[in-house]
Amino acid sequence: MSHSSHILICRGTACVSAESREVQTEFGKQLKQRGLQEQVRVVHTGCFGFCARGPVMVILPQGTMYCEVRVEDVREIIEKHILGGQTVERLLFKDPVTQEVTEKIDDIDFFKKQVRIALKNCGHINPDDIREYIARDGYKALGTVLTKHSPEEVINIIKKSGLRGRGGGGFPTGLKWELTRKSPGKLKYVICNADEGDPGAFMDRSILEGDPHSVLEAMAIAGYAIGAGQGFIYVRAEYAIAVQRLTTAISQAREMGVLGKGLFETDFEFDIELRLGAGAFVCGEETALITSIEGNRGEPRPKPPFPAQAGLWGKPTLINNVETLANIPAIILNGAEWYAGFGTEKSKGTKVFAIAGKIGNTGLIEVPMGITLREVIYDIGGGIPEGRKFKAAQTGGPSGGCIPAGLLDTSIEYDTLLEAGSMMGSGGLIVMDDSDCMVDIAKFYLEFTCDESCGKCTPCRVGTKRMLEILERITEGKGTIDDIDLLKELGHGIKEASLCGLGQSAPNPVLSTLKYFEDEYIAHARDKVCPAGVCKKLSSIRIVPEECKKCGACAKVCPVDAIEGKPRELHEIDPDKCIKCGKCIEKCCFKAIKR
């Protein structure tokens, strides 16, 4: 009988001094006791090169590497790994430099607190092969709905599930379906809003790239429920891979007979057309998106009438976001009660977040509603790197706001986030540490909305520009304390008076940072200091004489020759020449240069 597992134990000098020989003997002993000596072969090898973490061992065929294995660990490795097929997590190898980890995926902290419903297939199936989707119960929800439920029953299931729009607004999805169904008219449309534009958000892109069929299937279900035969996916042209996978998915679905005429041998027909955006953030707003599909400048229209009443080409239209749709097949297959079992009373189910910024694990996560920000940032995200301090989390992108450290235990729900002065938004979550300037962050988002304002209504077009000018003034040291009140007044005015969601939410990043970090605004405007040292005109760089070792490295690296002094002389920075690029700070080995 051949050996099904090999245990390689390092017998390099360092590991032997760390008792690797004893570990090997113990393995031999325990395997024999269990009669496993035929299946598992223990061999010793030369140095693996990870001497600092010895004794090191590798189990083949999985290639799992364990570090700092003690005699006491042998039993656990045999029971859990060899017999149980599980990885012994605490002994896994983590590269201290790259944080490279090799282990079984479900055991990672990153995945432990996640509940993957919308993302259930992402990273598990080949998105270019419809058969892999079908193998995981793909299109079964559509088939069930068409053959076993009336449209009203489908709407009831979605209503009971408590699903709310995941694009930002949080409007109850079932109610939206019902309103569109009840609108008079024979011709109706389903639109999937895949115009994901928030900087830092890529949930929808990942779903379209990783599981395009789930969106197609959900659109067909929605079409059946509201009485539509045609769907459109409005997707950003910038998402080239998503566009390509969607194109493949649509043609495979037509070939397979799950899109088109007479679906599941009923008289229901549904087809989907792809429409590409052309680089306009405002088109994520539903009425602007409709105008864009109609072939016009993507400008929003006043509501009412809502799209459910008069949408695309004046017909009743259902618009749902990608993530909302991706939940639908799972809800149909598992039942409304199952879905409503996740989350909280008013926010059911799960939400996908794209976490980025000053955080250990940047990436895409799906968590049950009601989880706290702290759990997301520390348990899943791995905390703040470089030993820095958490300052704020930005949710909702340019429409949202910042949540400060004091509110880290806020649970993630539509209403609690609104109360905190931010919003759920589409799911961007950017973490900031103490080296980030909140005024600068607010300015960044306002630059974005100012640039993307479509220009149709004055409060948004002119108002965001004026707000941006004030912020520029403040960050350049030309602001006054009155500017802060002016910002608040303008911000509230723009929120009240703008036509669409873009303008109504554009002041949020400023207003929420003003709420929690007004002291930073005051420092900029009154004291002409940027506490985080980000705003260049308001920070200075100086050399601390006691700590300077007079090596001259800073003078050499300075691009503008602002540092006086030769080696072995005390250095000083000429503030008039210094452009605050920070190269000298990076270069100084003694940390003698400070902002």
Binding site: R275, E294, R297, P559, C581
Partner: protein, 157 residues
């Protein structure tokens, strides 16, 4: 407008979308793929082909940031004009490139091979002066090296 290969392609696109509602934006996407940009003549042709007023075509082209009415150069040279680069002689570099290619800032050479522009600080102050050609960063430059650097791109497609 000259009758050439590109126009034949455009006509085929127009035929394919004829009568479809909301066809303008998809047609503009396709036309830009063919021409690289959307000059007035192309917009006029599309307007006639789809029966959409030229003003509407122009309105849509200028609304969306992915549509452009100026041709893009094959190699786009962006010289950083941040303070550090400026102090380190970015001005001379612009002059030298301008002389070599006969271009001013914001212009594109007649053969559309090179475009020249000035950008804000790109954050590579330690390598000043810096320029990027396409996405590639070139740093610690002096004006004398420009001829050699450009020569490389002249033969690149």
């Amino acid at each position: 407008m000259e009758h050439d290969e590109k126009l034949t392609k455009l006509d085929r696109i127009l035929e394919q979308y004829a009568g479809k509602p909301g066809a303008l934006i998809p047609v503009l996407h396709e036309a830009q793929k063919v021409y690289g940009y959307l000059p007035e003549e192309v917009q006029y042709h599309i307007s006639r082909g789809l029966g959409v007023p030229l003003a509407d075509v122009y309105g849509v082209v200028t609304f969306y940031s992915l549509f452009t009415m100026t041709p893009r150069a094959e190699h786009n040279i962006a010289v950083c004009m941040g303070t550090a680069c400026y102090v380190k002689g970015a001005g001379q570099i612009v002059e030298e490139i301008g002389e070599e290619l006969g271009l001013k800032i914001g212009e594109i050479s007649e053969d559309r091979k090179f475009g020249l522009e000035a950008t804000r600080c790109i954050g590579a102050c330690g390598m000043a002066p810096v320029l990027t050609i396409n996405e590639e960063v070139h740093g610690r430059l002096n004006a004398d090296q420009m001829g050699e650097l450009l020569e490389k791109y002249k033969h690149m497609h």
